[in-house]
């Protein structure tokens, strides 16, 4: 055996070869931080390298106007893996929920309003008049939450290979043991369109409208196409602050979760290196051997976890000449067409009356009529900016006093569906900006007059900031396509010691960390087996 540290001086151009590392994690976003924290906690000497100057990836704090901090990426927590919170002790590392289960107020084109309790298991519709509608909703929510809970392991995505990596076989077992009623339901829901299911369940137009909006929000799968109902199940399978299907807001915003993950990683003695772009992943035989950095240096290690997008990991860093032909086809087939936009708006003045203030403590959703929603998907897919979009809005300062500003307030918005552009021009940005503002105006009349600053963030902006491939954060296709893609990428091209937990490994949108955890666990199983 030769010591890889020997001969450093002879290396061409003085490039350093660093050894003594057990694991390298590429990508300093949420999943990368979580994965590295798990490895570090288990005693592995772990180096986390991020390409950008800051740690944190897509979800990051940014000054959106002088003196005003905004948070990019996500504004609510819906599917954060509770196991990650517990196992990495995120509460101790600073996560604190300001609101654990946000109620949602749905606004309709007609000007009418419906309010949903944040705890969906209550299925309490706070102001629904008709008893039969209430019963239908209760029964529906019962079915959906039960099915979603049952499918939760399925939505965890990916089948990490390697010793003990029998996640998929366990999954098969779990699903196989479904009671007949659940089996029938899963089978019925699997291929179903959200429209078909909801039309069969509800006479009430508004309930249908709001559930259609929830089902298609942040998904590229239109509500009238197969598998679209699964998107709703995925959303409700998530957990926030211990509550299935809930939406929660952490103090300091979602970026506080990233900060806590970073602290967890540092506490686990992970060597965190920002501004350290990776050029390629080293493969020797069919094993991973480390990474080559953009500056020519090498980090040698027998475990590499890629928490970056699949294009970068497989195509750029490993290269087509070293990945299987079928995997490459899977990675190059689909071009994203639909995306979600984020907008942070600084409004002049603060709410004075109690009713408005209470409303601002909720998640506000504008649900366009089903026909308008269908048209929005059709337009977005054809590359046109729709006339109406679903808007999800929340006011950080209403939930978190720390976010309060003087005589101003920030409204945080996500809007969907919008066309995806790799490089949107100013005209496109302006069109998107105005459709979002128009859609907000529908439920907040006169709102436009109070805008001081609005800050629009498209999927391509997020990708650029996180140094990801342009399409990495576009909306995901239907659940079936996501399963297949996640299964393909998490096999890590069958290179032993290599694990993938980039955005393609996750089913559904939102901050989850489940794939970072799964990748780290798979790596640890293999490591322990190798050591034993």
């Amino acid at each position: 055996m030769t010591n890889p540290l020997d001969g450093n001086d002879e290396n061409k151009g003085g490039h350093r070869i660093e050894g003594g590392i057990d694991a390298v994690v590429i990508g300093a976003g949420a999943d990368g931080l979580a994965a590295s924290a798990y490895l570090g906690k288990a005693g592995l000497r772990t180096v986390l390298v991020g390409a950008g100057p800051e740690i944190g990836g897509r979800i990051a704090a940014r000054e959106i106007a002088p003196g005003v901090q905004g948070v990019d990426g996500e504004h609510l927590i819906t599917i954060l893996d509770p196991d990650v919170i517990a196992e990495l002790d995120l509460y101790r590392h600073g996560v604190e929920f300001a609101a654990r289960r946000l109620d949602t107020t749905y606004f309709f084109e007609s000007g009418e309003v419906l309010r949903f309790d944040g705890d969906l298991t209550q299925a309490a519709l706070l102001n629904l008049e008709d008893d039969s509608d209430r019963e239908a909703l209760e029964a529906f929510m019962g079915d959906v939450l039960e099915t979603a809970a049952f499918l939760r392991p399925v939505f965890a995505g990916g089948g990490y290979a390697g010793p003990g990596g029998n996640h998929q076989r366990q999954l098969e077992k779990v699903v196989n043991q479904a009671p007949p009623e659940m089996a029938a339901r899963v089978q019925r829901y699997l291929y179903a369109t959200a429209e078909d299911v909801l039309r069969a369940r509800f006479d009430d137009e508004q309930l249908r409208t709001l559930l259609l909006a929830e089902a298609s929000f942040r998904s590229a799968s239109p509500p009238h196409e197969p598998f679209s109902f699964m998107s709703l199940l995925r959303r409700y399978a998530g957990e926030a602050a211990g509550l299935q299907g809930a939406a929660a807001y952490p103090k300091g915003g979602t970026v506080s979760v990233i900060d806590a993950l970073r602290r967890a990683a540092q506490a686990a003695k992970v060597d965190v290196r920002a501004a350290t772009p990776v050029k390629s992943i080293l493969i020797e035989g069919d094993r991973v051997a480390g990474v080559t950095l953009a500056d020519g240096g090498q980090l040698r290690s027998s475990i590499v976890i890629a928490a970056i997008d699949a294009q970068q990991a497989f195509q750029d860093m490993i290269g087509p000449e070293m990945i299987d032909i079928g995997l490459q086809r899977i990675l190059t087939t689909r071009r994203p067409e639909i995306s979600t936009a984020r907008m942070q708006i600084i409004l002049k003045g603060v709410a004075q009356d109690e009713a408005t203030r209470r409303n601002m403590m909720r998640r506000l959703v504008y649900a366009p009529p089903p026909e308008a929603l269908t048209k929005a998907f059709i337009d977005a897919r054809a590359g046109r900016v729709p006339e109406r979009v679903i808007v999800e809005a929340m006011f950080p300062a209403a939930l978190d006093e720390g976010a309060a500003l003087d005589k101003r307030q920030v409204m945080s918005v996500m809007a969907h569906p919008l066309p995806f552009d790799e490089a949107p021009d100013d005209e496109r940005r302006e069109a998107i900006r105005s459709v979002i503002l128009d859609s907000i105006e529908i439920f907040a009349a006169g709102f436009a007059g109070r805008i001081e600053v609005d800050d629009l963030r498209l999927a391509s902006d997020e990708a650029a900031a996180a140094r990801a491939s342009a399409g990495a954060y576009a909306a995901k296709p239907d659940v079936m396509q996501q399963w297949a893609l996640a299964a393909a990428v998490t096999k890590g091209a069958r290179i032993s010691g290599f694990y993938f937990c980039g955005p393609e490994a996750q089913i559904g949108a939102g901050l989850s960390c489940a794939s970072g955890r799964a990748a780290a666990k798979a790596a640890l199983r293999a490591y322990k087996k190798g050591a034993a």
């Binding site: 089948g159 098969e172 089978q187 197969p226 269908t374 048209k375 059709i378 079936m480």
Partner: protein
């Protein structure tokens, strides 16, 4: 007709007749329901009869010769027509001759589609209101990335599949048109790739009765009769499920008991207001459903088919974006301005032109409404214009035009409350698929 039946097969098209006859020959008791207003008219080409169906129905005992249609041809807005043939070699050569860079890929494409074609066991069999749970297949799917990958391709979009396969835009447009237009699908819809796989099946290649003297339909009716299928023209008014049977009541108060109601095609179902329950739901009035509209043009002599080929199936589209745009229009409840139209020459001085990209209902001023006489006129005139755009002078040859709409009827369906309805979604190989489906249901009963 009275008593207890295994199936009430509803419809008088070839797939319905073949399924009814095959099930009856296998020992099932079958009632066959024809619609009251049946017309005698020249037959359009039908899906091929697979060998196993031929044997099941003993078609050699009947005076029937089938001829495959000569070609599938697409008339794009610009450039020469694109054609594919039953023979892979002929297609490959034709593509090479037209300078397509993809001619060498043709055989691989057919091979791959054939390998993907058998429907995965977890695919819904087309049950409108009930679906046998097959959770094991789903579980097995989740445990095997290769199976998942295959499922993702089968249930993916035709646009992705073709875009990944062929560089030739014109060939892609042609394949989209012929694979998707008959079912009214969009090429960017999830699940549309399956239509492409089925379309490549040799059993999906359409055929016509040779000489067209003896129609296939007439032969199949004879087979049904010989097999002991009982037929009726009565109007059902209600069907209610009681245990393992549906009790179907007719307008003359007669009642029968049937195990299953069977619709071999979605248009048969749609005429009775029944949806197929698949992603491409037809039947229900409102968003997402679509209708098929057919015009039969009686022509004076001298009509010249494009390429001089009277035996082909023609599709008219301007370019490949038309397919999804037409589907979008149907979903939104409006007429499409660049309507994809399929047509063929019937051999009796007739052109049969149809499009499945019409809305089942129209959405205007925030309301859904059904078809009116005016809509039928507008639809017929769009189709006439589309034909004229590819066959100059076509309009002047028309002597008479008959229209036919396959859209859900106004009012409630007699089968609305019935849970034992089986609807086969649109299939390219509709005849063999219908026989397989009825077999599958019979096997489930045993």
């Amino acid at each position: 007709m009275n008593g207890q039946f295994d199936f009430l097969v509803v419809g008088d098209d070839e797939p319905s007749l073949a399924a009814a006859a095959a099930a009856a020959k296998a020992g099932a008791r079958i009632a066959l329901l024809f619609s009251a207003e049946r017309k005698k008219r020249a037959a359009a080409a039908s899906p091929a009869i697979a060998n196993f169906v031929w044997r099941r129905l003993d078609l050699q005992d009947y005076d029937l010769t089938l001829e495959p249609v000569s070609a599938r041809i697409t008339l794009l807005k610009e450039g020469a027509p694109v054609a594919t043939y039953a023979s892979a070699r002929e297609t490959s050569d034709a593509l090479a001759q037209s300078g397509s860079p993809d001619h060498l890929l043709w055989r691989d494409f057919l091979d791959e589609m054939t390998a993907l074609a058998p429907p995965p066991p977890y695919a819904p069999a087309g049950y409108a209101n009930s679906c046998p749970p097959n959770i094991k297949a789903f579980a097995a799917l989740l445990s095997d990335p290769a199976k998942l990958e295959r499922a993702a391709r089968v249930f993916g979009t035709s646009s992705d599949l073709l875009g990944d396969y062929f560089a030739d835009e014109r060939l892609r447009a042609h394949l989209s048109a012929h694979a998707l237009a008959p079912g009214g699908w969009g090429d960017k819809e999830a699940g549309s790739a399956r239509a492409l796989m089925e379309f490549a099946d040799p059993d999906a290649w359409r055929v016509r009765a040779s000489g067209r003297d003896v129609a296939l339909r007439a032969v199949l009716e004879q087979v049904c009769q010989d097999a002991g299928v009982e037929t009726t023209h009565k109007k059902p008014v209600e069907a209610l499920v009681n245990g393992k049977f549906a009790h179907v009541a007719f307008d003359d108060d007669e009642k029968i008991k049937v195990r299953h109601l069977f619709f071999a095609t979605p248009s048969a179902a749609q005429q009775w207001g029944v949806g197929s329950g698949s992603g491409n739901a037809r039947g229900a009035l409102g968003q997402g459903a679509h209708a098929e509209f057919t015009v039969r043009f009686k022509l004076s002599d001298g009509a010249e088919p494009p390429l001089g080929d009277p035996g082909a199936i023609f599709q008219i589209i301007d370019d490949k974006s038309d397919i999804q745009a037409a589907r979008d229009a149907a979903i939104q409840g409006r007429l499409c301005d660049r309507l994809p139209v399929e047509f063929e020459f019937s051999g009796k001085g007739e052109v049969i032109a149809r499009s499945a990209y019409f809305p089942a209902a129209f959405y205007e001023d925030g309301e859904w409404r059904g078809w009116t006489g005016q809509d039928r006129q507008a639809a017929a005139s769009i189709i006439k214009e589309r034909l004229s755009s590819r066959m100059p002078g076509f309009a002047s040859l028309i002597r008479r035009a008959e229209t036919e709409l396959s859209a859900p009827p106004a009012g409630a369906s007699p089968f609305a409350e019935c849970g034992r309805v089986i609807v086969q979604p649109h299939r390219h190989n509709a005849i063999s698929a219908a026989v397989r489906l009825i077999d599958q249901v019979m096997a489930g009963d045993d």
